[in-house]
């Protein structure tokens, strides 16, 4: 074995030395460019989205194709697994049916109440058509932020800021679009805050990702911890973006200052995801402000 050369010393050639020096200068300025990108991302999170979309458009068709294969495999596995735990599942379902009966009664009541209130408000609840139906094909599992990739981009009319929902519940928010793919910030991301309310009594709360796929719920009302295990939460529509009434999560544990919840929509088993138009709340009616008119006369006192 030969002793490895100590470093990149190119010898006595000036030309080679300058070349190496230029290489290192490039490396350092490149690293500084990276730092600059980090800092701009801090102040403008949507800044370099146009660039990012390009690489994403390359990878998303590959993921789409692979997704088809994996989907088939998982269905077979689930069919087998369903037989194995059929007995315990039967008992659990029996309990669930009993619980659901009471839920249906309160649900009917809610529907009645809802229609009455709506009539009262003369609110036109038009069914908002989704922008497009797509599929969550992959995710960025290396990144501590939880981004998923949707296989529809701005060519299909998807734009940044639109909420994405699956058949089970809220999935996330489109944060960036390529031509044929879009990046979705999942609700389980630690930076994603969703205003929610308890489905049963409308208790307002905020949901935020915990970092491991679960959510933390924080009550918007000060006081004792109001959460109970099994509480279900839906979007409240407060502040726009997410339309009200989309299922978000079910409480699975109580924390010292809130609750831990599991999202209803499991992005790993999403067949389809609907991109919905951004929910816009009507601005409050303008209040009349009476001001004294002041005349400015220059040079006179």
């Amino acid at each position: 074995m030969v002793t490895p050369p100590a470093s990149r010393r190119p010898g006595f050639s000036r030309r080679a030395q300058y070349g190496l020096f230029a290489g290192y200068m490039l490396a350092i300025s490149g690293a500084l460019f990276g730092l600059l990108m980090v800092i701009t991302a801090h102040y403008d999170p949507d800044g370099h989205n146009a660039l990012r979309g390009v690489v994403q458009d390359i990878s998303s068709p590959v993921a789409s194709a692979g997704r088809e294969l994996i989907g088939g495999g998982r269905n077979a596995y689930e069919a087998v697994a369903a037989y194995i735990d059929a007995g315990s599942k039967n008992r659990a379902m029996g309990r669930e049916v009993a619980a659901d009966r009471t839920a249906i009664v309160s649900g009917r009541n809610a529907i009645f109440e809802n229609s009455r209130l709506r009539a009262l408000l003369k609110m036109e609840q038009s069914e908002r058509a989704p922008v497009v139906a797509g599929q969550i094909v992959s995710s960025m599992g290396e990144n501590s932020r939880t981004f998923a990739i949707l296989n529809k981009g701005h060519l299909a009319g998807v734009t940044s800021g639109e909420p994405v929902r699956g058949p089970d519940g809220l999935v996330g928010l489109v944060v960036q679009t390529g031509a044929i793919s879009a990046q979705v910030l999942l609700i389980s991301d630690t930076g994603a805050v969703v205003p929610v309310r308890r489905a049963s009594d409308g208790l307002p709360a905020f949901s935020r990702g915990l970092g491991d796929g679960r959510l933390t719920l924080t009550s918007a009302v000060p006081g004792i911890n109001p959460f109970k295990v099994g509480d279900t939460f839906v979007t409240s529509g407060t502040g726009g973006v997410y339309a009200p009434g989309i299922p978000v999560a079910i409480v699975i544990g109580i924390d010292h200052d809130g609750a831990i919840a599991r999202p209803f929509a499991d992005p790993a088993r999403l067949d389809f995801a609907l991109v919905e138009p951004q929910f816009v709340t009507a601005p409050p009616a303008p209040t009349e402000i009476k001001t004294k008119t002041v005349h400015h006369n220059k040079g006179r006192k």
């Binding site: 002793t3 490895p4 100590a6 470093s7 990149r8 190496l20 290489g23 490039l26 490396a27 350092i28 490149g30 690293a31 460019f33 990276g34 730092l35 600059l36 990108m37 980090v38 701009t40 801090h42 999170p45 660039l51 990012r52 390009v54 690489v55 994403q56 390359i58 990878s59 998303s60 590959v62 993921a63 789409s64 194709a65 692979g66 997704r67 994996i70 969550i136 992959s138 995710s139 960025m140 599992g141 290396e142 990144n143 501590s144 932020r145 939880t146 981004f147 998923a148 960036q176 999942l186 389980s188 991301d189 630690t190 930076g191 935020r208 970092g211 491991d212 796929g213 992005p267 790993a268």
Partner: protein, 175 residues
């Protein structure tokens, strides 16, 4: 006695075949780029467990062959990794830093064996993940270190395999 004519023929072409310079140059770069494209894998995970494959392959090559990268290679490949993984400049910033650290390490530890490489790689990847977490939190996230511990452990355990794969690719490209 039969002469092994076919065999001789193959041996001659083996001797005459030089590995193509394009293959020699492009295999390391392409392997890092492909490893960076983990979002092309059709799996959806909503918590960080995938090891940073791009960074690991990049570092794996560097540990095997000290002159494999230009000083600025980390910038270009890191930039690609950032674009693929939705990170805001993390790899662009850290990969050239990893290269500089490795240059310093080369001066201190010119002789390294498998265990030294593993330890070194583990330390650098752990540092990389912690810095990536810091940057992710600076740019909008709020993840605590506990939740990336599984990712760190998986990365450390997978690192020898990563070096193996780089080694196999290295042999293939020089064949």
């Amino acid at each position: 006695m039969m002469r092994p004519a076919l065999n001789l023929g193959r041996r001659r072409t083996e001797l005459m075949n030089q590995p193509s310079p394009i293959k020699i140059k492009m295999v390391p770069t392409l392997s890092v780029m492909i490893a960076s494209l983990s979002p092309a894998f059709p799996i959806v995970i909503n918590y960080p467990v995938l090891p940073p494959l791009g960074a690991m392959v990049f570092l794996g090559w560097r540990l095997l062959q000290r002159h494999i990268w230009f000083p600025w290679s980390g910038v270009v490949l890191g930039f690609f990794n950032d674009l693929a993984n939705g990170t805001p400049g993390t790899a662009t910033l850290t990969w050239p830093m990893m290269q500089l650290i490795m240059d310093l390490v080369d001066q201190r530890l010119p002789w390294r064996d498998y265990h030294t490489d593993w330890r070194l790689g583990s330390m650098l990847i752990t540092l990389y993940l912690l810095l990536a977490l810091t940057i992710a939190n600076y740019t909008g996230g709020r993840t605590t270190v506990i939740f990336i511990m599984p990712q760190i452990i998986i990365s450390i355990l997978l690192f020898p395999l990563c070096i193996r794969v780089c080694g196999a690719l290295d042999q293939w490209r020089l064949r």
